[in-house]
């Protein structure tokens, strides 16, 4: 069996990897990365969207329910957080964050109900309702936006124990803490019986039911937890990256982006969420800098963004056919090969 020396069931290599990652996140990055651009345009959106991608991963990669509406739950979380901070005096930021996740989770249960009757592509269409309904609701009822007429509301500052976290580095640290905690919780669930129940429902629902798994509870649980992650991600996204709250930021394009992150990153893996998010975010940046530095602006910016769409499309088709388990699997294979070579 596995090594006995372990913390919470994690083996030695897991713990070493975790420590290395924590050192990178909390010491190495703050020391080396000095430009605000890297924090506010790359690291912060990457971590926020990775969190949303974990949410999408839970419902789609683990529980096998084709859901498309992550951005709707993100909007619910973002506006819930805005309202909690606005209306509840002295509410600690982390409490507001958890509560907004719970609000999103409630929507998750509601919009997960169709999964009990329909599946596959039909479910995907049904879950689109969350995308449109939540954004519509926020637009329609002024209360959610505190009757602001400008359409764009500035997000409040993040204040933790009286100390405002407003610089990009400070906000980055807040996000790293939240993402680390939620990622560990997600890994624990995925490895434990919660995750096994999700995967059983995904792979063969009739057999899962015959083993005593309630499809109703398991599916709705996956939707709720998924929406919780998306809600927290949405709140962080609005408060640290957008620094404003506008329903249009959470449109269907964002939902698709998160869906692509999960597909490219690898269905059914937590690290796939991070890899996929990094790729979807960094690829356009890379393409732009190639366009500017190699071709010196000879290629029109609109053409570059079209190329981006084409490449994503091709990659998704290629991955679906040749490596349904995505980039996370490719990464595993590389690691395994290098280990063999040693």
């Amino acid at each position: 069996m596995t090594t006995k020396a372990s913390i919470l069931g994690y083996g030695k290599t897991d713990i070493t990897n975790f420590v290395i990652m924590m050192v990178i996140a909390f010491a190495f990055v703050p020391m080396v990365v000095q430009t605000d651009y890297w924090y506010s345009s790359i690291l912060i959106p990457w971590l926020c969207l990775s969190l949303a991608a974990i949410g999408q991963q839970i419902v789609m990669g683990f529980a096998g329910q084709l859901a498309l509406g992550a951005a709707g739950f993100m909007a619910a979380g973002a506006f819930a957080c805005f309202n909690f901070i606005l209306r509840v005096p002295d509410i600690p930021f982390f409490v507001a964050l958890i509560l907004s996740g719970l609000v999103a989770a409630a929507f998750g249960v509601l919009f997960g109900l169709p999964s009990l009757r329909v599946r596959g592509i039909y479910l995907m269409v049904a879950t689109l309702a969350s995308q449109f309904f939540i954004v519509w609701m926020i637009d329609k009822f002024g209360w959610f936006k505190n009757y602001d007429t400008s359409g764009i509301i500035t997000a409040q500052d993040i204040v933790i124990f009286g100390k405002p976290f407003t610089s990009p580095l400070e906000m980055y640290l807040v996000i790293v803490v939240v993402v680390t905690v939620l990622t560990i919780l997600a890994i624990n669930m995925a490895r434990g019986s919660t995750g096994r129940n999700w995967m059983a429902v995904r792979d063969m629902d009739i057999a899962a039911e015959s083993m005593g798994i309630s499809l109703l509870r398991t599916k709705l649980q996956a939707f709720a937890i998924s929406a919780f992650y998306c809600g927290v991600a949405g709140a962080l996204f609005a408060f640290t990256y957008l620094k404003s709250l506008e329903p249009v930021a959470f449109d269907i394009k964002l939902s698709f982006k998160i869906l692509f992150m999960v597909i490219l990153g690898g269905l059914g893996t937590i690290n796939g969420a991070f890899i996929g998010a990094a790729f979807i975010l960094l690829f356009p940046v890379l393409l732009n800098s190639v366009g500017n530095n190699v071709f010196h602006g000879a290629i029109d910016a609109t053409i570059i963004s079209s190329i981006e769409q084409v490449v994503f499309g091709v990659l998704i088709i290629v991955f679906m056919i040749y490596e349904p388990l995505g980039m996370a699997r490719l990464w595993d294979n590389i690691k395994r090969r290098s280990r063999k070579a040693n």
Binding site: A186, S193, T194, N197, A207
Partner: protein, 265 residues
């Protein structure tokens, strides 16, 4: 069968009374009654399309018969979903393999332990002591089962990549992991060679012997059926045409006719 069984055959544990099941105009099962006794191995045989699998699906709650009732330990199983029936103590395997293809052998068997795990998702997320101890205990159980079935070599392989015979074995393992009182085995030996069949029989008999699990199995190989079952039910065109010990069934004229294909009157 030896006389000195650790778990002697007892009274009826599972009873089907006058059940009829039809799909549109097709009658899968017509007015059938039979009883399964505690600790026995009961075989259901019959030609293709006789309604054998439909019978198991009715017991397991996947189908619900339009007429009649099935009762388990005196409780009626009517309009109850399979997961509740599993909780009551009935587990099963499927004819066409219903494994969790992308999960490892160990994980598949662990899903069979579902009803022995009751930590909720928060306890699991935060790895509270309750979640950790029950996970460890159930993993140990599964490791024992893996040794019992002699499949240690494939413990971490995704089941989708295994050959058919091994998948059948894993499915038996998953059903055994539930520790249900009644196991419904739908053609556990279909597509196996003689060697594999013999091995499978050994497992089934051993489980029945050592922990007294009641088994209801569908099987086509008459040799196997006559060897391991305590009683046999014969279905033909959705009707029970014989029910009794292997010897009685073997000499029943109706059964011989059904198998040799004599015209129905």
């Amino acid at each position: 069968m030896t006389q000195d069984r650790k778990f002697p055959i007892g009274g009826p544990i599972l009873e089907a009374k006058n059940i009829s099941l039809s799909f549109g105009g097709v009658n899968a099962i017509t007015d059938s009654s039979f009883a399964v006794l505690q600790h026995e191995i009961k075989a259901i045989i019959g030609p293709n399309g006789a309604g054998k699998s439909s019978m198991l699906n009715c017991i397991n709650g996947i189908y619900s018969p339009q007429v009649g009732s099935i009762s388990f330990k005196g409780k009626k199983l009517q309009k109850i979903s399979p997961n509740v029936i599993a909780q009551m103590g009935i587990s099963r395997t499927f004819q066409n393999l219903a494994l969790f293809k992308r999960m490892s052998v160990l994980d598949n068997i662990l899903v069979g332990r579902r009803l022995h795990l009751d930590a909720n998702f928060l306890q699991i997320a935060f790895q509270l002591p309750k979640a950790r101890t029950e996970e460890r205990k159930n993993r140990e159980k599964c490791e024992e089962l893996i040794d019992f079935l002699e499949i240690r070599g494939i413990r971490d392989t995704p089941v989708g990549k295994l050959p058919y015979g091994l998948q059948k074995k894993v499915e038996l393992g998953r059903a055994l992991a539930t520790e249900a009182q009644v196991l419904l085995l739908d053609e556990p030996m279909a597509g196996m060679n003689v060697e594999e069949k013999r091995e499978m029989c050994r497992f089934i008999l051993k489980v029945n012997d050592e922990i007294g699990t009641t088994m209801v199995l569908i099987e086509h190989d008459m040799g196997v059926v006559m060897d391991i079952s305590d009683s046999v039910v014969v279905l033909d065109y959705g009707k029970i045409i014989a029910d009794g010990s292997p010897d009685e069934v073997r000499s029943n004229q109706q059964v011989i006719d059904a198998y040799l294909g004599v015209a129905h009157d």
